[in-house]
Symmetry: C2
Subunit: 363 residues, 2 copies
C-alpha cells in the first residue's frame, strides 16, 4: 500500500499526515517532511531502541541530538519540559531548529510543548508510534503537560510541520495499548460518524488482530474527522470541544489515580461509557444505543468503570477540568450515535447517578 495523505487545512500552517506501512524505512519521505538543520529527537526508553535508528539513518548528516526519557505519563510535566529545553539551549539550537517527537501521546504532547515555547516556537514533526497518538494526539496542535491539579492544564496550541504515522510501529505495540487507542477511534464514530461506528462494529476483531488494511482505514478515517474539526475550529471555541467526548470523566480518573494505573485511552473508554450512560439518563440516547456502545467497548477489552475512585473525588477533579467554564460544568454528551453536543444544561441528578454507577466500590 502506498502512503495515504490526510491534510490538516490551516492556511499557512497546513500540514500533511502520512499514513502507511514502513514509512520510517523511507528516507526520502522523512527528509521531505523534516525541516531544519539542527534536530532534537525526543523519545522514550521503549520506543527509541526500536525505531530511533531508522529515523537517524534516514537523516544522514543531519544527525539529531537525542533525548530519551523514561516511559510513562509521569514524564508529562513542566520539569521534564524544562530539561528538554535545557538540551536545546546547551546545543545552542536556533529558531530554525526542529523537534522530532518519536513515541506516543506523552512524548508528542511534551516535545510539542517544548517546541511551542522554545524561542517562542520552533518547528516540530510528530512521528507517533501508538494507535492513540496516530489517531488523536499527534494531530491538531494541542501540546502540553499535566499539573498535579489536573491533566493538560499547562500547554499551547502549536501545529506540527508534518505527522508521519507508520502503521508498522503498531506491530510492536502491547495489546493493552492497542485497545486503549481503539477508545479514541470509537470516539470519532460516536461524535459524528454513525457509518464509521457501524464499520467498527463489523471490523473490531480485524483491528484487534492488527490487520494492516483495517488499521490503515481506521487511522485515516479518524484523522480525516479530526482534521475537519480542527480546520473549522482550531482553538476550540466551539465544535472542537466534541473531541473531548468522554475526556472530562476520563481526566478525572487519570487525575484521581495520579496518572498511574490507567492508560489515557482506557480512561477515555470508560469516559465514553459514562457519557453514553449519562446521555441516556438525560433522556437523549436510547437504551439500545447505550448497549451498542457498551458492547463495542467491551469487545475492545476496555475497562468500563473506575472502582478505585469515589464519586466525590471524581466530581472534585471534574470541576477543575478545562471544560468547566464559570464553574458551571459543561460536558460533551450524545444526542445519538454520531451526534455529540456540548452542554451545561443537564439534570444534576443525571450526573450524580452516572458517577455513582461508574465510580466507587459498590455497583
Amino acid at each position: 500500500m502506498p502512503a495515504q495523505i490526510v491534510t490538516v487545512e490551516l492556511r499557512e500552517r497546513s500540514y500533511p499526515i502520512y499514513i502507511g506501512r514502513d514509512l520510517l524505512a523511507d528516507p526520502a519521505l522523512l527528509n521531505r517532511c523534516i525541516p531544519g538543520r539542527d534536530l532534537l529527537l525526543v523519545s522514550n526508553t521503549i520506543v527509541a531502541p526500536l525505531y530511533a535508528s531508522h529515523v537517524v539513518a534516514a537523516l544522514g548528516a543531519r544527525r539529531p541530538v537525542e533525548v530519551v526519557l523514561p516511559d510513562g505519563e509521569a514524564q508529562k510535566s513542566l520539569s521534564v519540559v524544562a530539561r528538554v529545553i535545557d538540551v536545546l539551549v546547551a546545543n545552542r539550537f536556533g529558531r530554525d531548529a526542529c523537534v522530532l517527537a518519536l513515541g506516543g501521546g506523552v512524548i508528542g504532547d511534551l516535545a510539542g510543548f517544548a517546541a511551542a515555547t522554545y524561542q517562542r516556537g520552533i518547528a516540530f514533526v510528530q512521528i507517533p508510534t501508538t494507535l492513540l497518538a496516530q489517531v488523536d494526539s499527534s494531530v491538531g496542535g494541542k501540546t502540553g503537560v499535566n499539573h498535579t491539579g489536573g491533566k493538560n492544564l499547562i500547554g499551547a496550541f502549536h501545529q506540527p510541520s508534518a505527522v508521519i504515522a507508520d502503521t508498522r510501529t503498531l506491530e510492536s505495540l502491547a495489546p493493552r495499548e492497542l485497545r486503549a487507542g481503539l477508545a479514541e477511534v470509537i470516539k470519532y464514530g460516536l461524535i459524528c460518524d454513525p457509518e464509521f461506528f457501524a464499520w467498527l462494529e463489523g471490523n473490531l476483531e480485524a483491528l484487534l488482530a492488527g490487520d494492516p488494511a483495517a488499521l490503515a482505514h481506521a487511522i485515516r478515517r479518524s484523522c480525516e474527522i479530526k482534521a475537519g474539526i480542527v480546520r473549522r475550529d482550531e482553538r476550540e471555541q466551539g465544535e472542537r470541544a466534541h473531541l473531548n467526548l468522554g475526556h472530562t470523566f476520563g481526566h478525572a480518573i487519570e487525575s484521581a489515580t495520579g496518572y498511574t494505573g490507567w492508560l489515557h485511552g482506557e480512561a477515555v473508554g470508560a469516559g465514553l461509557m459514562m457519557a453514553a450512560d449519562m446521555s441516556q439518563r438525560c433522556g437523549w440516547l436510547r437504551d439500545a444505543d447505550v448497549q451498542r456502545v457498551r458492547r463495542l467497548l467491551e469487545r475492545a477489552g476496555l475497562p468500563l468503570r473506575a472502582a478505585e475512585v469515589t464519586p466525590a473525588v471524581a466530581r472534585d477533579f471534574m470541576s477543575i477540568d478545562k471544560k468547566a467554564m464559570n464553574r458551571r460544568l459543561r460536558l460533551v454528551l450524545l444526542r445519538d450515535i454520531g451526534r455529540a453536543c456540548v452542554t451545561a444544561d443537564f439534570p444534576p441528578s443525571a450526573l450524580e447517578a452516572t458517577l455513582s454507577a461508574h465510580f466507587g466500590e459498590h455497583r
Copy 2:
C-alpha cells in the same frame, strides 16, 4: 487630557492601548477592559503597595486573587511561572479567567506567559507601570521567561486583551528606570522615524523632568510605531526583527551579568550605541550620525559600555541569542537614523572591533 487610544490591529485579536494620566482612577475604563469573572492580579512588592488597591477597588465584586512577587529580573523564570500557575489551579480558575499584569516588563512577560500556557491560553490585561513596559514590553504579545543560557529563550506569542498605560505611575518611578525606558523610546526613532528622533533631541529634558504632555507624546508615538510593525509582522518573520535593534548586544550584557546590575533598558541603550558604532564600521552610518546617537544616549544618562564583560564572553552569549539563525549571526544595524536593517552580511572585523571597543576593561 483625555485618554489616547492606539489600536493594535490583529483581526480578531485586535486590542486597544489606553494612554493617559490617572487611568487607574477610572473604574469604568478598568471594568470595560478587563474580561472574565475570575481574576488573578500579578504584581511585585514595589508596585503592588502603590497601585494594586486602585485596581482592586475599581473591580468591586470581581475581587482578584493576588500574587505579589519580589522585584527583579530573577523572577522571570520558569519556576516562578509554575508558581503562578499553581495559584490559578489552586483557585480552580477556568478558561474564562483573566490575568492582570500590574508592573514593569518582568511582571508583564512572566504573567503573560502564565496566561499563554494556562489551559493553553487565557485572557490577560497589561497594566504597565514603567516607561519601558508602557512603550515596549506590554505591547505586541511577546511573553516569556529567561533561561540561564539566555534571555527570553522560553516563551509564547500571546496578545493581551488590552493595555492600560497610566502615565501617573511614572511619577513614582526611579529616575534610573525612567532613563532605561527612554532607551527603548530612542530605539523607535532610530529604526524608522527620523522626525521622532529629532523630536526626542529637542524634548529630552522635558521627558527626564517627567513632563506629562511630553511623556504622553513619546509613549503614544512609540506605541503607534510598535503597533504598526506588529500588525504587519506579528510572529517576527521579517520586519518585527527591527525592534531588536540593540537587543542582541544588550541581551549579551544581561546574560553575562546574570540579569543583575544592568536594567534591561540600560543594556538596550548600550546595545543601541554598539549597533550605531558597528554600522559606522560597516560604512553604513556617517560619523556625525553616530555622534548624534551617542549624544542623545549620554543626555539620557545611559551607560554606553559594559566594562565588566569581556568581548569573548559577549560573543559567546550573542551566538545563542534568538537572532542567531543557522549559527550565522544576524544583527539589526542602521543604514541611517530612521532606517534599520537585519543582516548577516557584515565584515566579521566590524563586529570584533565593536565588541573590543564596548566590552572589557580597556577602552
